[in-house]
């Protein structure tokens, strides 16, 4: 067993940290207040290759491994959750699904421009009336001739108004005995006739990011845009979540780290009763909990990343990493505010933003309650993960770094 990061991993960390700390940290408060995503974020992440970090070079990516993706997400969210959200949807929920399930021509058409950052991608699963109960979705994809006509609305979609492509799950067979089997997945170009998008404002957190809705009104989509087989939509959506949740887990780990760092700095600086507040045991206890949360969350997501590298199914491990890291990040941010006292309650310090940002990840990509049900299900042997037709490919450095 080797817990050491490779030189390659450490350099990825430093590079992404450099970008986030130097270019985003100085402006993030301003954009969080404005509830706006800074225009330079996506083009800059594309230019630096971050948007294609763990896609093989021949598909336009950078050929790094899944652990590099996790490390990048940790660094991004240590500055602001909205940066990591970009990776969750563009990479975790969409591009990796194309890598896993896409045909060669779909990879050529959609994955290559996405990995290069020329096109931005999002993921449309949640609907105004449907969240955790995916099989109850009402969006439809009706087969007409050699294509489909999609109708419905998707809600709480990160990058909805910034994207060029959306991975959309809709019902193709309303008569399927098991409603899970009646869903199919599609890549829909946002500029198709009948697609409209909008932003959602007034969110508690991730205010410097883009969250919105996508509506489909009689949108014609050719058959070649269908991802996977007809009826495989639920399985594809769940596999997307295995990758999206991994990025959320890694990012939340970065949020714990940021809360810990802010708390340590403040506790060493702020004095009360004639000494630094870090000298008080109850402050130390809060910091000790953050250290515990950070170290454990990191080990959990790195294990999931390692399993992805090996080509091992990791639904259980990724779910645990996501549940633990997101719950703990909320707790860490809350305690960081407590350590900062009244200052922590104002946006003069970053910790109130950490708390607001932490809450969303406890809800999206599987609520904490869903993950608890999953973990109990595995432990009680009520649940197992059947093999799927297309597993996420294992990482193969030589193969992934070939240009052809």
């Amino acid at each position: 067993m080797d817990f050491a990061l490779s030189d390659e991993h450490r350099m990825v960390q430093e590079m992404v940290r450099g970008f986030a700390q130097k270019e985003v940290a100085p402006i993030i408060k301003e954009y969080d207040r404005k509830q706006q995503m800074a225009d330079f974020i996506l083009p800059r992440m594309a230019e630096l290759g971050i948007l294609g970090i763990c896609i093989p070079v021949r598909y336009g990516g950078q050929g790094m491994d899944y652990i590099s993706l996790g490390l990048a997400c940790e660094e991004l969210e240590a500055v602001d959750s909205t940066l990591r959200v970009v990776m969750s949807v563009h990479m975790g929920l969409n591009s990796l699904a194309l890598l896993q399930w896409g045909t060669e021509s779909q990879k050529e058409k959609f994955l290559i421009p996405q990995a290069r950052g020329d096109k931005i991608a999002c993921f449309g699963l949640t609907e105004p009336g449907v969240g955790s109960d995916v099989a109850a979705m009402t969006s439809t994809a009706r087969r007409v001739g050699d294509g489909y006509i999609i109708n419905g609305e998707k809600m709480w979609i990160s990058l909805a108004t910034k994207s060029d492509h959306a991975l959309v799950v809709a019902r193709t067979d309303p008569e399927a005995p098991d409603p899970h089997d009646g869903l199919s997945a599609f890549i829909v170009e946002i500029d198709r006739v009948g697609v409209s998008t909008g932003d959602i404002h007034g969110k508690l957190g991730v205010r410097a990011g883009s969250t919105g809705w996508i509506a489909f009104q009689d949108v014609e989509v050719p058959r070649e845009n269908r991802l996977g087989e007809e009826g495989e939509g639920f399985k594809i959506a769940m596999s997307c979540l295995d990758n999206g949740r991994y990025t959320v887990a890694a990012g939340a780990t970065g949020l714990i780290r940021a809360s810990l760092k802010a708390s340590v700095e403040y506790a060493n600086d702020r004095r009360a009763f004639g000494r630094e507040i870090g000298k008080f045991q109850l402050v130390q206890q809060k910091i000790a909990h953050m250290v515990k949360s950070y170290e454990a969350a990191k080990l959990l997501y790195l294990r999931a990343g390692w399993m992805k590298n090996q080509g091992m199914r990791n639904t259980q491990e990724t779910s645990l990493a996501k549940w633990f890291a997101t719950d703990e990040s909320f707790q860490a941010a809350s305690e960081a505010i407590q350590i900062h006292g009244a200052y922590g309650y104002s946006d003069e310090y970053d910790v109130e933003r950490y708390l607001r940002n932490a809450k969303g990840a406890i809800i999206y990509e599987g609520t904490s309650e869903i993950h608890q049900l999953m973990q109990a299900g595995y432990a009680l042997e009520y649940r197992s993960d059947p093999q799927i037709r297309c597993e996420l490919p294992a990482y193969d450095a030589d193969d992934w770094q070939k240009s052809q």
């Binding site: 490779s6 030189d7 350099m11 430093e14 590079m15 630096l48």
Partner: protein
Amino acid sequence: MKIVVCVKQVPDTAAKVVVENGQVTWGDAPLVINPWDEYAVETALLQQEAHGGDVTVVSVGGEDAREALKHALAMGCGNAILISEPGLENADSLLTSRVLAAAIQKIGDVDVAFFGRQAIDGDVGVTAAQTARVLGWPSLTLVSEITEMDPGSKSVKVERSVEEGRQVVEGQLPAVISVMKDIGEPRYPSFMGIRKASRAEIPVWSTADIGTELVEPAVTWPELTNPPQQEVVTEIISGESPQETAAKLADKILEEKVL
């Protein structure tokens, strides 16, 4: 065009550097490429992009210096050389410059050698000029912009940042150039560069390999002491109006003989 860039591995700027038992220590804080040297690497890469050729990054130091070299490789340098042997651990700037000059000569046909303006550990800031002197090349230090570089006619024109403002200087190649921050923001390592750097086999040269003699450094730091701690008293001056506050502050400044 054949370009050399010289870099040093130093404690991170965020490290708490203190003196213990007469020696400097930064605890277990990480070592990083000297931040000024990143500007030198950026300059070297920009010149390579403009004129072609290759960039070799060179460092004198221990095993730790590999990290600085890998960082430069990840930024885009083509080759790296580590010059290392036990006697170089406490090299002063003169010994370092002699070693670097010998390495540059061994590399051969070098058109230009870039340095950062200084290293943030010793902060001496003379290694570039000393290396130029040993090589017998023009020394263009504290350069904030390279306005012309023509490997064909072997000419170079730069702007230097001096106390009085900017100074335009023309010189002949080969030359040693040390650069300032104004030269341009260093690029981040690319993922392709990171992969290449992580797999790079970096050759290690000794002083014997580069045909120079290992001598005792002329300058040594036998003992260091922390600066005396100062008691700082903070007093807040206030008044009924801004005018009154300003008047009180002026009185205080005069009373304390600050002015």
